[in-house]
């Protein structure tokens, strides 16, 4: 698993629950170290062990934890750079949804060994979409649930999301756009980089 993904999990746990609990998790997972390097690659099993230990530590289901991770990635100031990169996807929430098809390509353009599952957006009828996350990263759909929810807040849109389960390894998310301009949203200026 790419270090960026492991590092994202570490950042989420440290900034949300504190470094003590992160150390508990790495010890329970038997990592033998407590800091992931963003630009190195690790065995896939390590990530799985960490997530298992995290669910035990937090006494929560993996799906909830992963959804919170997705929300964290968009809304926490510590990872503002990522939120900005996602906002490059488009002017409106619907533009953003359509940009998800090319998200894995964009990710690879930035970090060429970062492989994310392919995604496909379908508009079922106006305001109603389904997002299919292809197999490759089990639970990725739950992370995307959190990202989609937090990005809706970012754009000021009101959406209803439902994880429609996995079909043959692919996860499907049902998206209902209730109101595009529901709230103010957060500002996004192209030319102002996150520190």
């Amino acid at each position: 698993m790419h270090g960026l993904i492991n590092r994202a999990i570490q950042s989420f746990v440290c900034n949300t629950y504190g470094e003590d609990r992160w150390r508990n998790v790495t010890e329970a997972a038997g990592l033998g170290f407590s800091d992931f390097e963003a630009m190195l690659t690790y065995e896939d099993d390590l990530t799985d062990d960490v997530l298992n230990a995290l669910c035990v530590e937090l006494r929560r289901d993996r799906s909830e934890v992963l959804e919170d991770l997705g929300t964290y990635l968009v809304s926490h100031p510590a990872v503002e750079a990522l939120r900005r990169l996602l906002r490059f996807g488009g002017e409106t929430y619907v533009d953003f949804l359509y940009s998800l098809d090319e998200l894995p390509g964009r990710a690879r353009l930035a970090v060429n060994d970062l492989v994310l599952p392919a995604m496909e957006l379908r508009e079922i009828r106006p305001g109603q979409f389904s997002l299919t996350c292809e197999p490759g990263l089990p639970g990725f759909g739950w992370v995307m649930m959190g990202i989609l929810r937090a990005m809706a807040d970012d754009y000021g849109s009101l959406v209803m999301l439902e994880h429609a389960g996995a079909r043959g390894g692919a996860e499907v998310i049902a998206i209902l756009l209730v109101e595009s301009a529901f709230a103010e949203g957060r500002a996004f200026e192209l030319g102002v980089r996150a520190g």
């Binding site: 960026l4 390097e37 750079a81 490059f88 488009g90 964009r106 353009l109 970090v111």
Partner: protein, 341 residues
Amino acid sequence: MIQNDDLLRMLNLLCPMYMLLDESGVVTHVGPTMQKLRPDEVLEGQRFLDLFDLTRPRCVGAFTDLLAAKGGKLNLSFRTAPRTALKGLIVGMTGGAVVKLSFGISVVEAVRDYHLTSADFSSTDPAIELLYLAEANSVAMEASRQLNLRLQAAKISAEEQAFTDTLTGLKNRRAMEHVLARKAGGGMPYALMHIDLDFFKQVNDTLGHAAGDYVLQQVARVLVEETRREDTVARAGGDEFVIVFDHLTDRPRLQRIARRLIDRLEQPMRFHGQSCRISASIGIAISTEMPDCDPLELLNQADMALYAAKRGGRAGMRFYSRGMDVTEFPTDLAQSRARTG
């Protein structure tokens, strides 16, 4: 003069950063994004060549020269600040010309300087992707840079540990061998001083290892204080030390240093109320006295001088001289050396 509502609507969508010019090169219409670059200025009515400085084509006397530009390609920048560099494409038409402009590589600064949004670019314009890439790239580079910094720090600290004797902070045997290896064939004159502590074993045996460690640290301090910054002071083994003196081959001076070292090491050291007394024997070999001698051989000679000194009684010092190998280094001493070393 070009005036066609369909044309304008098309240009606004396809390339919002454009200008229409009349036959004499005066601006007659400005696209919405182009106007954002000069928000408080009326561009219509100004001469195109008064607004911009051209670097391609370079020799432009009249507006008609522009229309003759090969492939219509223009490189230009505003004459007033911010002097953003632009790329242009000019197409002559009946009644004037259309100039399509773009930022090229300066898009990153331009977006910041003019507060542009993605609505200011045509939806097929790769400008937003270019901005995304520039930003994603700098985020990724920063992560790599951080990794490199941490790896470099880890490497330096590993190297420092590997070349440092952790008890005394002096160079260790490995570091000393590195220093000596660099001297091979170098031609730079130097002297080697081999120091062996006397009575150190008694301190260790009667007062314990903590006292022994303390004594070694004090010895290290004395050796560093009595030598110059450029000299190499190494702990070569248990209670053996080696000093490499660069550019110092003068016997009387080396003798004075050796005497002073012995005098200072003989002063009692206090450890937890106990007095620890040691002394030292010193052997010295000088590179200029033994030309063509490699550093390890010279170290061996300093070693022999040291044992000659020991044989002459404790707290002595000797310079190596030819013949010492045979006369003053008999087998029984070689054996005793093997025991203490």
